[in-house]
């Protein structure tokens, strides 16, 4: 990869990339975090932690010398959490059609 492309990849993951991955991670976390004693931890903790998740992604993108690792961590977080959310949405129409029968 040319230095120019590497620079813009890093800027992309530190800028819009960090925002998108943080928001998708927040959405996905609500589906796998334990609910806790009041049944709300999975809903409230992602909301409280999202500024820190974003900051961690931002500084990781800026400071990790290995760009491949920056891309890998961000894409993995995105894929896992987007996948969890998508799975939940695919389940919902299936459950609705089950209810109809």
């Amino acid at each position: 990869m040319s230095p120019h492309a590497r620079k813009w990849t890093r800027i992309g993951f530190a800028g819009p990339g960090a925002v998108v991955v943080a928001l998708v991670t927040m959405a996905g976390m609500s589906l796998w975090l334990p609910r806790g004693s009041a049944g709300i931890d999975n809903l409230v903790l992602p909301l409280v932690l999202v500024p820190l998740i974003w900051a961690a992604l931002f500084f990781h993108a800026c400071l990790d010398a290995r760009l491949a690792r920056v891309v890998g961590v961000a894409l993995a977080l995105f894929a896992i959490h987007a996948g969890i959310v998508a799975h939940k949405f695919m389940d919902r129409p299936a459950m609705a059609s089950e209810a109809h029968r």
Partner: protein, 528 residues
Amino acid sequence: MIHLPKEETKLMVAVHGWSGVLLGLVLYAVVITGMAAVFAEEIGAWSAGHVETQSAFARPFDRSVRELAARTPNEFRDDVDLFEIGDHNLGVFFHRHEVAPSGELINRGVYYQLDRQGRVANELRGTGEEVFGPRNDDALSSFLVDTHVRLHVPDPWGLLLTGVMGLAMLVAAISGLLVHRHLFKDIFTLRRRANPVLADRDRHSVAGTWSLPFAFLLAFTGSFFSFFGTIGVPIVAMAAFGGDQQAFSDTVFGQPGKPNPTPQPIGNLDRIAADAIGRTDGAPTFMTIEHFGRADAAVTTFHESKPGDIEPMTLVYHGGTATFDREKPSIGSKPSTGGTLAAIMAPLHFGNFAGVLSKAVWFGLGFAICYVTLTGIRLWLARRRERQRSLDWLERSVTVIGFGLPLALLAAAAGFLVTMPLGSAVFWTPASFLAACAVAILAGAVVPRQEELQRGLQIAIGALLALLPLIRLASGGPGWPATIASGQLAIMAVDIATLAGGAWTLWRLSAQGRERTAKDSAALQPTE
């Protein structure tokens, strides 16, 4: 302290510097109004001459609420919010919950503003967004809080803007920590007589180091508040409840228990308030009645935190029988990690968990963070002054905004004090602010020398600070004997603070003036 490799350090310096320069002046506006907003309640009492100290909940209000219920259309009697307005009078909002086309949860109903005798002084109908605007007697505190929360930009853009400012401060705090190689070795070093770059660097890094933990805390909690309702809840509700924000709200804030729509008149609210005051040693700051007029009605009273705690207290009562049910956490029906963390975000940000003591500390920290922001921009400019003359405009802008903004806030206070007795404070408070901004901008354009501009603005700040108590008295505000007699010490305290602040500012400026005159005449002597 943290030794990053050279390239990463350069990048962090660039991130720190550019985020500070591009966003620093807007961030400064958010922080300085936040600093004032810490004392919004005291400033409200001071500016409007509120001498009442007894809470509206400590006086009978049950009968008023029943009379209001009788005249409120049935469709709006699902829930009721009760809170204090004006000089410890009661505000009552009968409402129902609706979901806007955007999916956002809104409340629609009738908002009654009561006077001291419990009679309706004003009645407004509409959504919460529509009815809860500034009133004549709280126009100044509303103006300060609204500027801080959303910079007067309409929702959701204003909240998103201040949220981005919070993230910018978070980035600046973390990157500042990463680039500072000798954080603790430099913590007491202020080389005032060194070259401007070194002097500015020391001022900035000393203030930044001492206030670092709080800069991080305030940035994090502030951005939480800005993004929570605008982006956070809709996204989490989408993932967990298919976009149903009502279901989200019911899960997080709702009361457990079986619904029972059997009609039953609400129990005695005065008895509930008295019991709540007895249990918590303090009047409620807010009271809600859910399912008003039903057998499953629940009354929740919200109180300040117990001494030593940060999380506010919340009590729940059976609405129909007016009997105590339980103490519950602020968020969630049972104590939980998530509930506790979410519940302490507000006290950590507002600094109101230990009364005036914590508010004073938070005010001081706000001042320190304003100082860090301005000295940081000045340092960035000082480093480039040799190379780039064309940055004079930015240097001037920093002076105009840095000193013009506090001047404009003081002008808003003066405008409020003069026009509140005339009933036109809602217009004139922001108008005075804008007029003072225009004067500061004009001064920035016409005053030839930077030092004169800065000195002129500081003199204006000092003079206005010292004059505010006199303006307050001249406009018919209560004098100190009346405020001491009623026990409302906030009025005297704010008077003393502004007098002392004004006197100290003017004294410092006159000392600097004398020092400069002495230097100038010493410079002249060899030529005589």
